[in-house]
């Protein structure tokens, strides 16, 4: 038989779907059948197609199996490994075309992406430095250390046009230059891996799937700005990312990529991991630095910027995970090549976490400037359960909603800001007609209000008042003046808050007011929730034409709000009904509806 290599995804998504068990069983079966010399089993980081996990790729054919279970292993070994047969049942079926795809190259979700930063994710073992080296790993570092001086490195980054991927979109090269020029006996590089946005997991996947690329990016930054020490601040909720990063750091130390006199040069660099302790505001750079110092993570007034006065008052460059992930790519391929991708002012690619009511959820890397329509319908495979697209929420609690009229909007920093949204860290949550936009605003405001550190009044008090109004509206107690107050309050909080959290907190409300003001009015004036999501504003009714009196709804109602004799039309008492929705899920005739 041919030599085979089986890649099993061991990212958080697939592990929770049972990929560890699949891996163990596979190894055991291979041993039992004496195939160890012909088949190599490799664990990888996230392939990005989490919903279809556990995922398995068989090389060299690149066969792609999804939702693999332990019980499938015998068949995989006998048929695929020994006899080169394809098991049809395990192949991915395109939700729109209804066709099976044999390899991942045949799947639109993958072949319409442009993977630069995520290139290795899912294709190499993140726990083995040799696999990274085999993909030209640390070649960029070697090139930089041996052939370029600090200014040349910074110029190259500037020339690439790379802008920060954490949300703000500031020029990375300029940021580095400021730190390089700042006076200080010691300087730091900090990687912001405190991914707290609900609906975002790209930093997690990159750290889990290709930790060395982040280390390499940080090393190049350290050399350019003149730093000899760095920190990666990782969310404590990401234990697997921390473990993989730790392992990668010790391997890089063993091979001389970290430590003193790296690759025989005068450059030395030490890298530390700092586990966050759960505070969304620590994603804000000044708050993050204060948290590393061991304090409550409250933001500071800028200037001074971290570039001149950062960690322990030393000049510090702080970039996001994905930003560092781009650095080795730029130096491997050249700044000009990199600048050829994307739009005039937004260069390169952006990784998005595509989730919500979309068929293919997962990690998606696309060139800047691609339209939202392409991401959702070509790569994402369209809306789940044949639903109707309503809006996409982009950029998490700092971002906003983009309605269907703007589906052809190019995704880049400036277009999104103009449309009232924001790149943010890159969460894309797709919503269908069943999502209520007022309820969604309430959801985000509830989040930012809870996570406000409380240091400045507009954010602490303002978001609280906005939330109170939104709760009132979703409960049917809204008054017409609420709309004006929300707009005014929102604008003022944006203008007067101390840090990014407060400055962007009203965005979800303001953007939904901009595109979906009707829906607010329906709640306030008609006391109706058009999406049927706000509990207090919906009534469950029974359609007499469809009800056959099977009593299933009456028997499952927890508060006995449904009455009616057997084989006769039933009735729901709206006063008793708690709107739990059990009846609607139980009715086989589809006779219960929301009014």
């Amino acid at each position: 038989m041919d030599k085979k290599r089986i890649l099993i995804c061991a990212g958080t998504g697939c592990v929770s779907s049972g990929s560890n068990k699949v891996e163990a069983k596979l190894k055991e079966t291979i041993k039992e059948k004496g195939l160890q010399d012909d088949v190599q089993v490799v664990i990888t980081g996230c392939h990005g197609f989490c919903e279809q996990g556990p995922l398995l790729i068989v090389e060299p054919e690149d066969l792609f199996y999804c939702r693999v279970e332990e019980t499938d292993i015998d068949e995989i070994v006998d048929k695929t490994l020994v006899n080169n047969e394809v098991i049809d049942r395990l192949l991915f079926e395109d939700p729109q075309k209804k066709e099976k795809a044999k390899t991942f190259h045949d799947i639109d979700f993958y072949n319409k992406q442009q993977r630069l930063v995520l290139k290795n994710c899912g294709h190499i073992n993140p726990e083995n430095i040799d696999e990274y080296l085999a993909q030209d790993g640390y070649a960029a570092l070697e090139k930089v250390l041996k052939n370029m001086n600090q200014v040349e490195v910074i110029e190259e980054v500037k020339k690439s046009g790379l802008r920060g991927r954490g949300g703000g979109g500031f020029s990375t090269g300029l940021k580095w230059e400021f730190t390089y020029k700042a006076q200080g006996d010691k300087k730091y590089v900090v990687c912001n891996a405190d991914e707290g946005d609900p609906g975002a997991f790209m930093d997690r996947s990159l750290l889990e799937g290709d930790p060395h690329i982040i280390i390499e990016g940080m090393l190049i930054c350290g050399y350019a700005i003149g730093a000899d020490e760095g920190y990666v601040y990782v969310r404590a909720e990401y234990p697997l990312a921390i473990k993989r990063l730790q392992r990668a750091i010790s391997q890089a130390e063993e091979r001389g990529y970290l430590g003193t006199n790296i690759l025989g040069t005068n450059f030395s660099f030490k890298l530390n991991i700092k586990a966050g302790a759960g505070a969304f505001v620590c994603g804000e750079e000044t708050a993050l630095l204060i948290s590393i110092e061991g304090n409550r993570g409250m933001p500071k007034v800028r200037p001074p910027y971290p570039a001149t006065k950062g960690l322990w008052d030393k000049p510090t460059t702080i970039n996001n995970v994905e930003t560092f992930g781009n650095i080795p790519v730029i130096f491997r391929k050249g700044a000009e090549w990199f600048a050829g991708i994307g739009t005039e002012k937004s260069k390169g690619t952006k990784v998005f976490a595509l989730t919500g009511k979309v068929n293919n959820t997962g990690l998606v890397e696309v060139p800047m400037g691609i339209s939202i329509r392409k991401i959702i319908f070509d790569i994402g495979g369209g809306i789940k359960d044949n639903g109707q697209f309503k809006a996409v929420q982009i950029g998490g609690p700092s971002g906003g909603c983009i309605p269907s009229e703007l589906l052809d909007l190019p995704v880049d920093y400036d277009s999104l800001t103009q449309a009232g949204a924001m790149m943010g860290s890159g969460g894309l949550v797709i919503m269908d007609e069943k999502t209520c936009m007022v309820d969604l605003s309430r959801f985000f405001l509830n989040f930012t209000q809870k996570e406000s550190c409380g240091k400045c009044t507009p954010c602490r008090e303002g978001t609280k008042r906005m939330l109170e109004i939104l709760i009132r509206i979703t409960e049917g107690a809204g008054v017409p003046e609420d709309i004006e107050i929300l707009k005014k309050l929102g604008e003022n909080i944006k203008k007067t808050s101390l840090c990014g959290l407060g400055q962007t907190a009203p965005n979800p409300v303001l953007s939904t007011l901009r595109y979906f003001e009707d829906e607010y009015w329906a709640h306030i004036k008609d006391k109706k929730c058009p999406a049927g999501a706000c509990k207090e504003l919906v009534t469950y009714r029974i359609n007499p034409d469809l009800c056959n009196g099977c009593t299933l709804c009456a028997r499952s109602c927890p508060v006995n709000a449904i009455t009616g004799e057997k084989k006769e039309i039933h009735f729901i008492d709206p006063d008793k009904c708690t709107r739990c929705g059990v009846c609607i899920t139980k009715c086989k005739k589809g006779a219960i509806y929301l009014a």
């Binding site: 929770s16 609906g199 586990a275 759960g278 505070a279 061991g294 993570g297 989730t355 929705g581």
Partner: protein, 163 residues
């Protein structure tokens, strides 16, 4: 609780010994407070008052600051917690795919509210903003295991595995 052996001089409480080791590891290091609190919480399961006092003394940090930091971050707990920690994700993706219904079902099954611990100290229930497994929404995490693609009906089956 371990009060039983504290007064006995010949028996050393293994937990306080572990805490001492953690303090030793970080003594003199910059920014030690948060990692020490994290280790202390791993040892005790939560942060008892006397532990915070001791950490303050050993690191020469005012106890008020130790308390300030411990109450600022969501990760730290000042009350005993259950043997199994259930984190229910209410992030955006889970929200639009029915996370709230899962929370209701959990509250009903365990007879506790969000943030509470069952009387037998078996389960603690807490909602979180996102656990980064959005592709599997709605999702909960019990200890270090993630359970995704949940439905309200599946909740009690998942809970049973931990009882």
């Amino acid at each position: 609780m371990c009060q039983c052996c504290c007064s006995n001089q010949t028996v050393v409480d293994p937990k306080s010994q572990q805490l001492e080791e953690a303090l030793k590891k970080y003594s003199g290091k910059k920014g030690a407070l948060i990692p020490v609190l994290q280790e202390a919480q791993d040892i005790y399961g939560y942060l008892p008052e006397e532990v915070m006092v001791e950490i303050g003394e050993k690191l020469s940090i005012p106890v008020s600051k130790v308390y300030g930091v411990a109450t600022f971050y969501a990760q730290f707990h000042l009350k005993p917690r259950g043997r199994n920690i259930i984190r229910i994700c209410l992030g955006t993706a889970c929200h639009v795919r029915g996370g709230a219904k899962i929370l209701e079902k959990l509250e009903e099954t365990l007879q506790i509210k969000d943030g509470e611990t069952t009387q037998d100290l078996e389960f603690t229930l807490e909602s979180v903003a996102c656990i980064g497994a959005c592709g599997l929404a709605p999702v909960i995490m019990i200890n270090d295991d993630t359970h995704g693609r949940l439905t309200p009906d599946a909740v009690s089956k998942v809970i049973k595995q931990y009882q």
